[in-house]
Structure formats: structure tokens, C-alpha cells
């Protein structure tokens, strides 16, 4: 390819990077101060002409200073490659110097947001399993330079640049298929995300109002709004439909923005995933770095024969906080799922084997806990409202509870062969997790007093990508798996990452 890019000496990003950095700075400032700006705008209309010109001057000065800052950020951002390490200098006042050795690099991803697409530069993200600080984002490189950088780093690692079998993708999702996927999403979840967003905005507005000492206004306004809603059945029905629509549109937007034009290519040691509408992303996923995968589907998706695969890689610190590190391929057909599994594991024999169900104590435990919850829920409601009417909610809640528990119990299973552990779980959705046993980091067996009576235990596998649990299996069986896992991990010479 291009030999002009050696990266032996320190080099800067493309000068266009200033625009990208400037855009990012403006966006960040706008995001934190938009409510304030809005209020200022209203005051602004009342100003005299002289005042207006001062405000304009102020805006120009601030924008100019930010541009200068963007320039400085750009000027001080320099990187090179030396001794199989990627070295980065950055910082205006507080200089920092980061170096990452190639074999620690987990992914090299390309990304293009709207600005980057307009001026035709690529953002290169270099990810490691380490702390957030060591993650590097080079904001603007020309395509050639970005490819050259990837290749340079790839030469020394297992990241391979050339797709296998020419350029035919393993999976490509058309607009129609994407529509299908988004219609069958979990709309409740989309709704919750939307509500969380609203709460975030509300908090922000409240903070600003509070700093002006005017929370009462906002509160009375909102209270009046809720008063109208209360006790009106038609409004409730209307609200329900609106919420449903919001959920639906939410799923639609979410799926379309992040997974538009999804295509997956198979390479020797990795998968390459391209997707995104406003922000285009290219993710290179090394097979060896994948800790475990989960194949998920729900009843409607199952009918349509589609599922999604979640790839989990090593993360440090609390796993739950790093949801964005999960890499997801949506809309996989059955044969594509099989293909991906084949590429990753030797799973053939296991799939046909009989499922090992978990002990029926699991069901008992869930019934006990849920009943307790329902009783508590009713007591709290009764204390607050002193109204017997609410007890009728049990008529609805109980069947739902029984159904969910039965589903959850039915879907919990495990299978084990020489190298691979398969664990199923889920309620409405079905998740099947595939874990290579030698990738387990440590193993734990837990037994509470009730479980002790039934001689069952929970088995918890700790992997670099988080915990995987088999609930409530016979202690004897669990012990066998425990001993076997240790044997497998301790006798393995393969690298787990």
C-alpha cells in the first residue's frame, strides 16, 4: 500500500482534524449549557441595541478562543510507532505520554460521525482491555493513512487486513430486514431508554431553574399536568397508545442509527463489522480476544428466523458500566449464526446433546421470592392508599408471575463437552451463551441454607468479560464441573486473550 506513511517519526493528524476537534468542543459545551443558552436567548430579546452588539462580540470572542483551543489540541496531539508500541503525546498544559504495546491492543476501530463524513476523514479508535485512560482516539486521518496505520499495527499482531474469500460479506442487512429487526425489538426497553432520557433533560432544566431559585414554577406546572391525567380512563388509554408508539419509534430510531447498513466480513483471525447511519463504525473483532458470545432471540424473532449475537471482550473494572464495549450483530439468520459459531468453536457434537436442566428448586426459589415481592407490594400500596381495590391487581399480577417463572425455568439449561460450556437463560427472550472453558478466570460455588437442604448449588464462572452463572444444580454434578473446569484451565497452554 502507501509507503509514505511510516509512523516512525511523530506525526500529527490531518489538519482537517481541527474542524473535528472544534465541532466536538462546541457540541460538548452546547450539551452542558443548552438550557442556560435558551434562557439567555429570551433575555436577549429584551436588550437594547448596544447590549446586543456586546453579546455578539462576546459570542465571537468565545468562539474564537475555542477555535484557538482546538488548534492547540491538534498541534499537541502527536503519535508514532516504535518498538512494536504505539506512542502518543497529547495535552496542552498537562502533557501526557501514552504507549501501548501491540499485543495489548484489543481492537482498532474506524468511526465517522457526521462532521467526519462531510470532510472525509476517519476517526481511529485503539482499544485495550485496560483502563479507560489508555483508550486512544485519533480524531481525523485520511482513509489511506488510517488504513496504513491499521496495517502497520496489524503486521505485528493477529489483526489481519485482507478479508477471506474476496469481498463477499458473511452477512449484509438490507433496509427491509433492518425494519423487521427493529419492529421485533423489545419496545419496553426502548421506552425505558426514552424515559431515562427525558428524566435526564428534566434534571438538567431543574438544575438551571434551581440556580435561579425558581423551582416552584416548574413544579406547579408539572403538578397541574399530572392532576389532569389522574383518574381519566380515556386519557389513560390514550397515554398507553402514545407510550407504545414512543417505544416503537424508539426501537426504530435506536436500531436504524446504530446498525444501518450492517455488514460483517470474515477474516483469518477476526471479524470486521461495519455499521451506522450518522456515525459509521468499522469494528475489527479479533477471534482470540472474544471471551464469550451470546446468541439471543425472542418469540417473534424466532418465527422470522432471526437472532442477534453479542460478543463479549475482556474489560477491567465493573463490567456493567461498560455496556458500550459489547459488540452486537443484529439480524442473523440461522445459518449465519451456525457459521459464526463454527468459526469460533468446535461445538458440533454438543449441540445435538441432551440439555441438562437445572434443579426444580430453582422454580421453588423464584415462586417464593416473587410471592414475597407481591405481598410486600400490596402491603405498601395498602398503607399508602388504604384502599382495598388495589388487591385486585393480584388477579393480573399472579398469572403473569407464574408464566414468567415457568418460562424462565424452562429456558435455564446447560451443556458441557470437552472444551465448551453452553448456558441457556431468559424469560421472554432466549439467550444462549457459549463459553470456552479454558477462558474461565476463576470459579465459585455458592450454597445458601435452603439450597443445602436440597443439595443444590449455584455455580459461577468468572470470565474476563463478566460473570456467567448456572443456577441450582445438584452439588455432585456441580463439583464434577468445578473440578473439570479447573483441570481444563490449569492444563491449557492457549492464551485466553
Amino acid at each position: 500500500m502507501d509507503n509514505t506513511h511510516h509512523f516512525g517519526k511523530f506525526s500529527k493528524q490531518s489538519p482537517k482534524g481541527i474542524v473535528v476537534i472544534y465541532g466536538n468542543l462546541l457540541y460538548k459545551i452546547f450539551k452542558t449549557t443548552w438550557v442556560l443558552l435558551f434562557i439567555l436567548l429570551r433575555q436577549f430579546l429584551k436588550l437594547s441595541e448596544e447590549g446586543v452588539s456586546y453579546v455578539y462580540l462576546g459570542i465571537v470572542v468565545v468562539l474564537g478562543l475555542l477555535l484557538f483551543r482546538a488548534y492547540l489540541v491538534y498541534k499537541n496531539f502527536q503519535f508514532k510507532i516504535a518498538n512494536n508500541q504505539f506512542i502518543l503525546k497529547q495535552g496542552i498544559f498537562k502533557k501526557s505520554n501514552t504507549s501501548i504495546s501491540f499485543d495489548r491492543i484489543q481492537n482498532i476501530n474506524f468511526k465517522q460521525n457526521l462532521i467526519q463524513q462531510l470532510i472525509n476523514v476517519y476517526q481511529v479508535n485503539i482499544e485495550t482491555a485496560g483502563s479507560k485512560k489508555t483508550e486512544i482516539a485519533i480524531k481525523a486521518l485520511s482513509f489511506e493513512k488510517a488504513e496504513a496505520l491499521k496495517k502497520q499495527i496489524s503486521l505485528n499482531t493477529v489483526i489481519d487486513a485482507v478479508p477471506l474469500k474476496g469481498n463477499t460479506p458473511l452477512l449484509k442487512i438490507s433496509f427491509l430486514e433492518l425494519l423487521k429487526v427493529s419492529l421485533t425489538e423489545n419496545h419496553l426497553q426502548s421506552l425505558l431508554i426514552f424515559v431515562a432520557l427525558l428524566i435526564g433533560i428534566y434534571q438538567q432544566i431543574k438544575d438551571v431553574f434551581k440556580s435561579f431559585g425558581r423551582t416552584d414554577n416548574l413544579k406547579t406546572y408539572l403538578d397541574e399536568g399530572t392532576q389532569v391525567l389522574y383518574g381519566n380512563i380515556i386519557l389513560f388509554a390514550f397515554l398507553f397508545i402514545v407510550l407504545l408508539m414512543v417505544g416503537l419509534i424508539g426501537s426504530f430510531v435506536r436500531i436504524f442509527f446504530s446498525h444501518f447498513n450492517l455488514s460483517v466480513f470474515v477474516k483469518h483471525q477476526s471479524f470486521e463489522i461495519n455499521q451506522g447511519l450518522t456515525t459509521k463504525k468499522t469494528i475489527v473483532l479479533k477471534k482470540g480476544k472474544i471471551q464469550n458470545i451470546t446468541v439471543s432471540t425472542n418469540p417473534i424473532k424466532e418465527k422470522l428466523g432471526i437472532s442477534f449475537i453479542t460478543f463479549k471482550q475482556a474489560v477491567s473494572g465493573k463490567v456493567a458500566k461498560k455496556k458500550n464495549k459489547l459488540i452486537r450483530i443484529i439480524g442473523c439468520k440461522t445459518n449465519q449464526v451456525i457459521k459464526i459459531k463454527e468459526l469460533l468453536f468446535n461445538f458440533k457434537k454438543l449441540e445435538s446433546e441432551e440439555k441438562n436442566l437445572v434443579d426444580s428448586y430453582y422454580k421453588t426459589k423464584m415462586y417464593f421470592r416473587s410471592s414475597l415481592m407481591i405481598v410486600l407490594f400490596n402491603i405498601i400500596i395498602y398503607i399508602n392508599t388504604e384502599n382495598i381495590r388495589w388487591f385486585f391487581s393480584i388477579v393480573i399480577l399472579l398469572p403473569i408471575m407464574v408464566l414468567l417463572i415457568r418460562l424462565k425455568f424452562k429456558k435455564a439449561f446447560y451443556k458441557l463437552n470437552d472444551d465448551l460450556l453452553i448456558i441457556g437463560n431468559g424469560r421472554v427472550e432466549t439467550h444462549i451463551t457459549y463459553l470456552e472453558i479454558f477462558k474461565v478466570q476463576n470459579i465459585k460455588m455458592k450454597q445458601n441454607v435452603f439450597q443445602a437442604r436440597k443439595r443444590v448449588v449455584d455455580l459461577v464462572f468468572q470470565t474476563a468479560a463478566g460473570k456467567i452463572k448456572i443456577p441450582c444444580i445438584k452439588r455432585k454434578k456441580a463439583l464434577e464441573i468445578y473440578n473439570y473446569t479447573l483441570y481444563k484451565v490449569e492444563s491449557s497452554t492457549e492464551l485466553w486473550m
Binding site: 463437552n417 478466570q441 476463576n442 460455588m445 441454607v449 473440578n483 479447573l486 483441570y487
Partner: protein, 167 residues
């Protein structure tokens, strides 16, 4: 070819001879607990003396008895729980078990250990005790920590594991 014949001969973690942690550590546990509950109780006592007495004077005795019972209950759990804390080291892994109501056993293979830490708290230093923690990759909150072994022993274990990892 891929059959799994070895499962019968695998070393069994159930047959391991687990070692108790040092008896002296019970004193450390109790001192920690007394300090903690002492501070809490004094705080509560002061609160009652100056604020709450007027509000519900009749219940005061009952509350004190309840607190005493709670104190004793936690104390028994601590003492019984102390004797349940055991560890074992094999050629290739380290195990730890504990718990009264929820019994737990964890094993960490040496080959997956990222780093090892030996810590001493101010109180345990009086009894020349230390704790040893091993960390694996990923969410480290659930790794293994053995509290209440002699500092010399902790350092020996650390050295032993380091040798096993590098050798």
C-alpha cells in the same frame, strides 16, 4: 477421540485439606467490630439524649434491648463465621471457603492471576497478621482474598505463586 475419560481421576476440590486461618485474627475481627459498633452506639446514645427522648420516651428501653440483641446476633455470626474461613493451596491453584448462611468456595488457578497483593491493616499489624488478595482479569470485585494469615506466611504464599507463574 474427544471423549472425556479423565473425569474420574480429576483432583477433587471436595477432598482438599483446608487450613484454618490464624486464631489471633479473631481478635482483629472483634476489635474492628467493637470499634465500629462502639462509634455507632455512642452516636445513637447522644442522639437519644439530646433529641429523641422527648419524642418517644416509652420505647427507649425497647430500642436499647433490640440494639443489644442485634449486637449479640452479629457477634455470634462473626465468631461462627470466623471458624468457617478456610483456605487451601495446591500445585496450580488457590482455594478459599467461607460463609454460614451462604456457603461459598472459590478457586483461582495460578495461571489466571494478574497480580497479588499483601495488605496489613493497622489492627492486624499488632498481631503481625496480613491478608493476601489475588486478582484475575475482568471484574475484580469477586476475586479471592484471604484475611488473617501470618505476614511471613502471606509473603511465602506470594513468592510461591509468583514462582509458579513465572516458572
Amino acid at each position: 477421540m474427544f471423549e472425556n475419560q479423565q473425569i474420574d481421576q480429576l483432583p477433587n476440590v471436595d477432598e482438599l485439606l483446608f487450613k484454618n486461618i490464624r486464631k489471633a485474627y479473631l481478635k482483629v475481627v472483634l476489635i474492628h467490630y467493637l470499634l465500629f459498633s462502639g462509634v455507632l452506639l455512642t452516636g445513637f446514645f447522644l442522639l437519644v439524649q439530646y433529641k429523641l427522648q422527648e419524642i418517644f420516651p416509652t420505647y427507649i428501653d425497647g430500642i436499647y434491648i433490640g440494639l443489644l440483641l442485634l449486637f449479640l446476633l452479629i457477634l455470634t455470626f462473626l465468631i461462627v463465621g470466623f471458624y468457617r474461613r478456610k483456605f487451601a493451596i495446591r500445585e496450580r491453584d488457590i482455594s478459599y471457603k467461607s460463609g454460614i448462611l451462604i456457603k461459598k468456595i472459590t478457586t483461582v488457578p495460578f495461571s489466571r492471576i494478574q497480580h497479588i497483593e499483601v495488605d496489613e491493616s493497622p489492627v492486624s499489624r499488632i498481631f503481625s497478621l496480613a491478608s493476601i488478595s489475588v486478582y484475575t482479569a475482568g471484574d475484580s470485585s469477586d476475586d479471592l482474598e484471604i484475611k488473617g494469615i501470618l505476614k511471613t506466611e502471606a509473603l511465602q504464599i506470594k513468592e510461591f505463586i509468583n514462582q509458579k507463574i513465572n516458572g
